[in-house]
C-alpha cells in the first residue's frame, strides 16, 4: 500500500489555484456535474457509504450529519464551512484553501444542491488573510465561468458563497461559536440542544463542515462511496491530510490513506523522515493542542479513527507534532495550558478558571515547588474540566495533560524532587549536579 495518496490534494501546488480552466482540465467539476444528475438522498447515500468522518476534529459521520439536515423541512438552509483552522500544528486546510480553493467551492456547491440551499459561508481564520484573497478570486472566477451564482451549468440551481473572516479567536473553530461570530456576536459557543442542523446560522437549519471534509465530497460523488471507502480502512473512509511538525525531518502536509502506521507517518522517508539529529522520540501530540499525546509504545498504531481511539489517541485535526527527548513534558504542557488560558472564551467556570489553576500547578511543578497534594488537585482539575466544561474547548483542554499524566507519571513525580529528565527545568545547582 502506498503511504501517500493524493486523492484531494493532487492539484495543490500543481494548478493555478484560482483558475477555473486549470481546475476543469485537472478533472474539476466532474463531481458537481454528476451530482446534478443525482437525487439528494442518493448523494447522501454515497457520503454514508464512504464513511467520511468529520475532518475538523470531532470525527462525526458526515453522512449522518447530512441526512439529519435533509430531514428538516424548514428553509432556507445554510452551508457553512469551518475554515477557522486554529489548532496549533494544523495547517492542512490552509493548503486546500490556498492551493485548490475550487475543490472546496465545488464541494460547497454540491452540498448546496443537496439541501436546496442558496447561500454558503466560508469562515476563514483572520490569519489567512492572503489566502482569503485567493479564495475570493476563485469564487469570482467560478461565478464568471458559470459554476457559481444563478443557474449553475444551466441547471436552474443558484448558489452563492460568502467569505467571512475570523478575528483570531481559536474558540470560533467551535461550530456554534463560529456561527455566532458570523452573526456579528461575540464568538462564544451556544447551548446545545438545539443542534445547529435545526437552529444554526441566523437561527435557521445549517450544515457546518470542515474544509477538508467538504473537499472530499466531489471525489466521493464522482468515484462513489464504496470506492472512496476502499482507499482507507474498513471504518475510516478515504485519506487524511496530516500535518507533520516539531522535531521531524520532513515537516509539512501529507495526504495519507487511513491505515498507515504512526511509525511510518513519522519515520518513513516519504513522510516525516524521522527525528533530526539522531535524537530519540519523546512523544507525539495528535490533533492539535486539544488532542492526546502518545509515546513510543503506541507508534505501531494504524492511523485511523478506530485504532487510534482504541489506543487512547485520536485523529483530531490531523496534526502530528513530534517532540524529541530534549523536551520536558511539564514544560511542554505549560505551553499547551498557556494556549488554552489565552483561548478560552471565558464564559464557563471550569474552562475559564481551571486552565489558570492548572497552569499555576504546572509552574509549581516546573519550579520544583509542588508537593504530592498538588498532583492530586491537578488530577481533579483534569477530570472536572473534562466532564463539566460547557463546550469542546474546555472538555478537551486537559486531554494532552491527561494523556501525559498516564504516560509520564514518573516525570511528574521526578519534578517534585527537582529532577527533570530532559534537563529543561531547574538549574544544575538545583538538580544537584
Amino acid at each position: 500500500m502506498s503511504k501517500i495518496n493524493k486523492l484531494i490534494s493532487g492539484n495543490c501546488g500543481v494548478i493555478c489555484p484560482d483558475c477555473t480552466e486549470d481546475y476543469v482540465k485537472a478533472g474539476g467539476y466532474q463531481g458537481l456535474k454528476k451530482a446534478f444528475t443525482m437525487k439528494p438522498e442518493d448523494i447522501i447515500g454515497e457520503v454514508k457509504k464512504a464513511k467520511l468522518l468529520g475532518r475538523g476534529g470531532a470525527a462525526y459521520p458526515a453522512g449522518s450529519k447530512w441526512e439529519q439536515l435533509l430531514e428538516i423541512p424548514e428553509f432556507p438552509k445554510y452551508i457553512v464551512i469551518n475554515a477557522d483552522e486554529g489548532e496549533p500544528g494544523t495547517f492542512k486546510d490552509k493548503i486546500l484553501l490556498g492551493q485548490d480553493p475550487l475543490r472546496v467551492i465545488e464541494g460547497m456547491i454540491i452540498a448546496g444542491y443537496v439541501f436546496n440551499s442558496h447561500d454558503g459561508y466560508i469562515y476563514i481564520r483572520g490569519e489567512y488573510r492572503a489566502i482569503q484573497k485567493v479564495f475570493q478570486s476563485a469564487i469570482d472566477n467560478a461565478v464568471k465561468a458559470g459554476y457559481l451564482g444563478k443557474n449553475i451549468l444551466g441547471s436552474g440551481f443558484e448558489f452563492n458563497i460568502h467569505i467571512m473572516t475570523g478575528a483570531g479567536a481559536y474558540v470560533c473553530g467551535e461550530n456554534s461559536a463560529l456561527l455566532n461570530s458570523i452573526e456579528g456576536k461575540a464568538g462564544r459557543p451556544r447551548i446545545k440542544p438545539p443542534h445547529l442542523a435545526e437552529v444554526g446560522l441566523f437561527l435557521l437549519p445549517t450544515l457546518v463542515n470542515n474544509v477538508e471534509s467538504i473537499a472530499n465530497i466531489p471525489t466521493i460523488v464522482l468515484e462513489g462511496g464504496d470506492k472512496y471507502l476502499s482507499y482507507g480502512t474498513k471504518d475510516s473512509g478515504g485519506t487524511k491530510l496530516i500535518c507533520l511538525s516539531g522535531n521531524v525531518v520532513n515537516r509539512g502536509v501529507y495526504e495519507i490513506p487511513f491505515g498507515v502506521s504512526l511509525r511510518d507517518a513519522i519515520y518513513d522517508p516519504q513522510l516525516g523522515g524521522g527525528i533530526p539529529n539522531g535524537k530519540k522520540l519523546k512523544f507525539f501530540h495528535l490533533g492539535g493542542q486539544s488532542g492526546p499525546i502518545g509515546g513510543e509504545a503506541q507508534l505501531d498504531t494504524p492511523y485511523c479513527y478506530k485504532a487510534l481511539r482504541n489506543a487512547g489517541l485520536s485523529v483530531g485535526s490531523g496534526a502530528i507534532v513530534v517532540m524529541d527527548e530534549d523536551v520536558c513534558v511539564i514544560d511542554y504542557l505549560k505551553g499547551v495550558t498557556e494556549f488554552f488560558i489565552h483561548e478560552s472564551c471565558g464564559k464557563c467556570t471550569p474552562c475559564r478558571e481551571g486552565n489558570k489553576q492548572i497552569y499555576a500547578i504546572l509552574c509549581k511543578i516546573a519550579a520544583g515547588e509542588a508537593v504530592q497534594d498538588d498532583l492530586v488537585i491537578l488530577k481533579r482539575l483534569i477530570d472536572t474540566m473534562t466532564i463539566a466544561s460547557f463546550c469542546g474547548l474546555g472538555q478537551s483542554a486537559a486531554v494532552a495533560l491527561n494523556t501525559c499524566w498516564k504516560l509520564f507519571k514518573t516525570e511528574f513525580e521526578d519534578h517534585l524532587h527537582k529532577k527533570c529528565p530532559a534537563q529543561v527545568c531547574f538549574t544544575e545547582q538545583e538538580r544537584g549536579e
Binding site: 438545539p194 442542523a197 467556570t349 489558570k356 473534562t386 463539566a388
Partner: protein, 581 residues
C-alpha cells in the same frame, strides 16, 4: 443530533437517583429533580431568565455517560436515568465552586449580601472549609460615582444573570460580557462608568445578582443623621409596593400586607411624620386623568403615556426621545409628594419648609436618580432629599434592633397619609391604568362606576390591551409590563400604527412590586404574591377612587385650585429632555 423539539403534552418516565418521576418531556432536569425531592445547586440559573448554563454547578450524571449534563439547560427524555449525587458529580460541583471562590474577595463580613448571598449559601452547603486553591481576587475598584448603582466587580461571579436581564428582558444593553478567558468580565461598552452607558438605573441587574457585586448606593446614613438632628423635621413617604414586600426581609411570606407595621416601624425609627406616597398617587390620577381628557378633547399628542416610572423616563429619554411629547407632563407620585411636602404641607402645618427633610421609601433604584433631576425640583428646595429602597429600610430597622413582626399596626399621619385603593395598586403593572380609569370614567360620564375592578388590565402578561366605553366614547388603552414590551408599543406609535389613547408603561417587569430596590430573591412567583397583596389592600380600603380622597379634595380646595391649574403645573408637572448617549 437528530434532536427534535420536545412536546409539552408528552409525559415521560425517568429516574433521578433511583426515584421514578413522570413529567412532561419539556421539563428541565432541574425541575424534574425537584419533583423527586432533590435540590440541585445553581448559580447562573434564574427561573425568570434565559438559561446560560455557564457556571456548571448544576451538573448531573447521565447513567452510562462520563460527561456530565447541566440540569438547568437539559430537558428530560423517556427512560433517562440521572444521578445527582455520584462521586464525579460531587467532585465536579465542588471544584467549580472552589474555582469561583479562588477568584472571590471573600470579604463576607463587609458585604451587603452577608447572610443573603447565593455564593455564601453554596459555600456553606458544600462545606468548603479547606480551600483547594489560593485566594487571589482581582483588584478592581468599586464604581459608585453615579449615585444610584454600585458595581463591585471584584465580587462578580460571571454568572451573566445581570447581562441577560439588561439585554434580553429590559433591552437596555448597558452591560454585556467582554473579553475572554481569565479577562472575561461583565462591563459597559468601552468599560465606561455606568452614567456614560445607556443604563436607566432600573436596578434589575441588582435584583438578579446572586452576590454582592451589584447593589444600590446606601443612603441610610443620611437619614440617620437627619433623624438625629433635632433642628430638622423629617418626614417620610412610602411607595405602595414596599408594604407588600418589606415583610420578606423579616421572614414573612411574599405579599404579606405590612402597612400597619411599616408605619409603626418608621415612627419607631424616629421620623416626625409618616406619610404615604399613595396620597400623591391619588393626586397623580387627578392630574394625569385630566391631562388625558384635555389632550383628547383639544387635539393634544396621543396616546398619552404614563410618567410614574423613573426607569421608564430614563428609557424614553435615551431610546425614544422623539416620543417625549407623548409622555405625560405629570411628575411621578414620589415627586408630586416631594413638591407638596415642601409647599402645601409646611404651609398647612406651620413648619419652616427649610427645616423639612423629605425621605422616600421606594421599591426602586431609579427613584434615587429621579429625585436628583434638576427639572423635577420646584418647591424652591430639593423636593425629595433622600430616597431609600425597601432593602435599605429593612437595613435601618435591623440596625435599630426592634422586632418588626411584633410591632402593633399604626396609621399614616394626615393629611399626606390619606389615600385610596386606586393609589395602592399603583405598585403593580396595570395599576396606574386601572386607577385612572376608575376616575376618568366618572369624570367623563358623571355616573358612578358599578364595579371599580378592571380585571382586563391586571396580571403579569407582557402587553395588556383593553377598551373602555365612556358613555359611548370608546377609549383604547394598553399596558406594557417591562421595557421589552414597551418597545413593542413604542415602535407602533413611532410607525403611526397605533390607535390607543392611553398607555401605561412600567419599567420593571411586574411593575414596582418587581422593582430594583425590592428584597433580594424576587422571582415571578414572588411578584405574583406581592401583586395579590396589593389587590387585597385595594379591596380592603373604604375609598377606592382617587377623586373621592377627601384629603386630595382638600388639597385642591385649599391650595391647588383645580387639576392642571397654574399652581399644579408649577409644582406637579415637568418636561423631560432627550439623552444623547
Amino acid at each position: 443530533m437528530g434532536h427534535h423539539a420536545s412536546d409539552p403534552n408528552k409525559i415521560v418516565n425517568i429516574t433521578i437517583d433511583g426515584v421514578p418521576v413522570s413529567c412532561p418531556e419539556t421539563t428541565l432536569i432541574l425541575d424534574a429533580a425537584k419533583m423527586a425531592g432533590i435540590d440541585i445547586p445553581v448559580l447562573c440559573y434564574h427561573p425568570d431568565l434565559k438559561v446560560r448554563a455557564t457556571c456548571r454547578l448544576c451538573v448531573v450524571e447521565l447513567k452510562g455517560q462520563k460527561k456530565l449534563k447541566t440540569a438547568c439547560s437539559n430537558e428530560v427524555w423517556d427512560g433517562a436515568e440521572f444521578i445527582t449525587n455520584s462521586p464525579a458529580v460531587r467532585q465536579a460541583r465542588k471544584d467549580v465552586l472552589e474555582l469561583i471562590l479562588a477568584e472571590h474577595p471573600q470579604d463576607c463580613l463587609q458585604c451587603v449580601r452577608n447572610t443573603n448571598c447565593e455564593l455564601q449559601q453554596l459555600a456553606r452547603d458544600f462545606g468548603v472549609s479547606k480551600p483547594l486553591f489560593a485566594n487571589q481576587p482581582k483588584q478592581i475598584p468599586i464604581e459608585d460615582s453615579n449615585g444610584v448603582i454600585v458595581r463591585d466587580m471584584a465580587k462578580c461571579v460571571k454568572c451573566g444573570r445581570c447581562v441577560e436581564m439588561c439585554q434580553e428582558v429590559q433591552t437596555v444593553g448597558a452591560i454585556n460580557t467582554a473579553h475572554r478567558s481569565v479577562e472575561y468580565e461583565v462591563t459597559t461598552a468601552f468599560d465606561r462608568p455606568l452614567q456614560d452607558s445607556t443604563c436607566i438605573y432600573c436596578g434589575q441587574c441588582i435584583a438578579v445578582c446572586p452576590v454582592g457585586a451589584l447593589y444600590e448606593k446606601d443612603d441610610t446614613e443620611k437619614v440617620w443623621q437627619a433623624i438625629g438632628d433635632s433642628d430638622k423635621h423629617v418626614i417620610v413617604q412610602v411607595a405602595p409596593a414596599v408594604r407588600v414586600a418589606l415583610g420578606e426581609e423579616f421572614g414573612l411570606e411574599p405579599g404579606s400586607i405590612t402597612t400597619g407595621k411599616l408605619v409603626a416601624a418608621l415612627r419607631r425609627l424616629g421620623f416626625d411624620k409618616v406619610f404615604d406616597t399613595d396620597f400623591a398617587a391619588d393626586v397623580t390620577i387627578m392630574e394625569e386623568g385630566n391631562e388625558l381628557l384635555e389632550r383628547m378633547s383639544h387635539g393634544g399628542t396621543l396616546p398619552l403615556i404614563t410618567s410614574c416610572s423613573p426607569g421608564w423616563i430614563n428609557f424614553v429619554e435615551t431610546f425614544y426621545p422623539d416620543l417625549l411629547d407623548n409622555v405625560s407632563t405629570c411628575k411621578s407620585p414620589q415627586q408630586m409628594f416631594g413638591a407638596l411636602a415642601k409647599s402645601y404641607y409646611p404651609e398647612k402645618a406651620g413648619i419652616d419648609a427649610a427645616k423639612i427633610v423629605s425621605v422616600s421609601i421606594m421599591p426602586c433604584t431609579a427613584k434615587k436618580y429621579e429625585s436628583a433631576r434638576p427639572e423635577i425640583n420646584s418647591s424652591g428646595y430639593r423636593d425629595v432629599d433622600v430616597v431609600l429602597t425597601t432593602r435599605e429600610l429593612a437595613r435601618m430597622i435591623k440596625q435599630a434592633g426592634f422586632d418588626f413582626n411584633k410591632l402593633s399596626n399604626a396609621e399614616f399621619d394626615a393629611p399626606l397619609g390619606i389615600s385610596t385603593g386606586a393609589a395602592v395598586i399603583f405598585g403593580t403593572s396595570g395599576g396606574v391604568m386601572e386607577a385612572a380609569l376608575r376616575t376618568v370614567y366618572e369624570v367623563v360620564t358623571g355616573k358612578e362606576l358599578a364595579n371599580v375592578d378592571f380585571e382586563g388590565v391586571r396580571g403579569l402578561t407582557g402587553v395588556k390591551e383593553a377598551e373602555v366605553d365612556l358613555d359611548g366614547k370608546k377609549v383604547k388603552v394598553v399596558i406594557a409590563n417591562g421595557l421589552k414590551n414597551a418597545r413593542v408599543i413604542l415602535d407602533k406609535i413611532r410607525a403611526g400604527e397605533c390607535d390607543y389613547q392611553f398607555v401605561e408603561i412600567m419599567c420593571c417587569p411586574g411593575g414596582c412590586i418587581g422593582g430594583g430596590g425590592q428584597p433580594w430573591g424576587t422571582t415571578q412567583a414572588t411578584k405574583e404574591a406581592r401583586m395579590a397583596g396589593l389587590y387585597q389592600a385595594d379591596r380592603e380600603l373604604s375609598i377606592r377612587q382617587s377623586h373621592k380622597n377627601p384629603a386630595v379634595k382638600a388639597l385642591y380646595d385649599e391650595f391647588l385650585g383645580k387639576p392642571l391649574s397654574h399652581k399644579s403645573h408649577e409644582l406637579l408637572h415637568t418636561h423631560y429632555h432627550p439623552k444623547h448617549k
